[in-house]
Symmetry: C2
Subunit: 305 residues, 2 copies
């Protein structure tokens, strides 16, 4: 076994979601020196388990004492390590006032980034605020609408460095629940996707969103009667869900400057569906902007710019 | 233990669905002499298991030899005992040409009622055709639209004794998948339902169906931010799903004679939502019309009227 060079970060950036944990060994300038991941997400941990899980994950790194840790995601929810209360919109898009975790050994200074809430329509985000802050750190003075596809897709109106309003769509979670928990599971297996079927379904649902639940059953019937392929059925389900989302999010994207943040596969679907409506959206990788957001918070906290 | 009078049916009516089996000991005039139920639904059985399961279920009854058995439901699907091919719309609403099961002992004459298919929009039903036939046997010369709420709700246009067209909505199955398989499970527990929240959600979704997936997430956010009750959240989910269904089914119910067939709890919700749109729908119990449908097939088969 070869001896790897020791990893000696200046601080640690953490993305701690519902089902996964990812820690980055960072230098003060924002370079990633190392990475460690775990499946010990927030939902599997009691409050007193977060500290030992984090210590075990970074045990191989040579960290300063005290070591600054900045974490975003569900780790800061009421069911997480400690609640980092929501900030309310409208609010600064910068996450420069994280909440310090109490009851941690003196050698670790752990900070949690707050989520953001909106009273009406009732809505919340936790984790995406860090991606938004990171995107703006990478694209200063950017104004427009951010779309963050995923389990709970967010549309966020950003103006003059503030988050003005946002809406969440359960698009990704509905895709999973419908494709695994209903009779459609028999007709949707696999991962292939037929692009033209996707675009047709997105555009049809955008104009006739009310037909969603009946179009769903047609996916099953078209399989039984005509042997419709799973790739076509998956594309139609995805198109219907994204089409319904675009129908409701129209005030967000129509005539706006739109940027997508997320996985490239999923963002490409949104990009194609938006292009069909005449909107050219840019793409940014979620992991990069998350790290940029954690770095921005670190800089704000330590006064290093 | 008292000695019960022996049950001696003239024939046996069977409702054999995906997850349940229900057999009725019938006299020739259509009176129910006894009932036996089992959780051995179609989905848990291989083709060669249907006969022994049925024999075991009716073992206590003294049946004629040969004994006529008439069955409806998923028992006649491709994954069932034997496929009873779909009839295509437009077709008679009577199910008077069931399919005889081959390879059964001579003492049982088992007949399966065919489902109905529609090529465009692609749609199928299996089991509901028997309820429709039963409803028309109980209400001769009835014209109008039947709505059969349930896992897969059907809207059926009936005219001059024919099924003209129909559409299926995955309303019930979506309610189950969303309330158990998504983050909303934390906000929807229990069985209570707030009637005014239901009616508001139904009417709002009927006018703005595209907001469905974003309104869903608001149910979670309203719980986190305002402690919204589960009874309100359940009512809003149910109202949103039924409202979206009514939006798409409008050509079926607008200005039509509408009859609901199903469980009284669920049918009452549809009745209230329809009343809000100015439609007075009647209610019929699903079990009664199913038996009436099986009786009608028996009479057609045996020439007894």
């Amino acid at each position: 076994m070869s001896q790897a060079a020791p990893i000696s970060p200046d601080w640690i950036a953490v993305d701690w979601g519902t089902s996964n944990l990812r820690a980055f060994a960072m230098d003060a300038g924002g370079t990633v020196l190392g990475e460690a991941t775990s499946d010990k997400g927030m939902s599997s941990l009691a409050p007193n388990e977060f500290e030992p899980v984090l210590r075990a994950l970074i045990a191989d790194w040579t960290v300063p004492n005290p070591c600054t840790v900045i974490a975003c995601g569900m780790v800061g929810s009421r069911q997480g390590w400690q609640e980092a209360p929501y900030r309310g919109v409208p609010c600064s898009a910068k996450s420069d006032a994280p909440v310090r975790v109490s009851n941690v050994g003196d050698d670790l200074h752990v900070w949690l980034i707050s989520g953001i809430k909106q009273p009406d329509p009732a809505d919340v985000m936790r984790g995406e605020e860090t991606q938004i802050a990171g995107f703006l750190a990478l694209n200063p003075d950017w104004d427009g609408v951010l779309c963050l596809p995923g389990t709970h897709c967010k549309w966020v109106h950003v103006s003059a460095g503030e988050i003005v309003s946002f809406r969440t769509f359960m698009t990704g979670e509905l895709f999973d629940a419908i494709s695994t928990g209903t009779v459609l599971r028999h007709s949707l297996n696999g991962t292939d996707m037929d692009e033209s079927a996707f675009l047709n379904a997105a555009s049809e649902t955008l104009s006739r969103p009310e037909k969603f639940t009946t179009n769903l059953f047609s996916l099953r019937a078209a399989d039984l009667l005509n042997g419709q392929s799973a790739a076509t059925a998956r594309a139609k389900l995805s198109g219907a869900l994204i089409g319904m989302e675009l129908a409701a999010a129209k005030p967000y994207w129509l005539g706006q400057n739109v940027a997508l943040i997320g996985s490239s596969t999923l963002c490409t679907l949104y990009q194609q569906a938006l292009a069909q409506q005449g909107v050219d959206a840019t793409l940014s990788d979620a992991a990069s902007v998350t790290r940029a957001g954690l770095c921005a918070t670190y800089k704000a906290l330590t006064g290093k710019s």
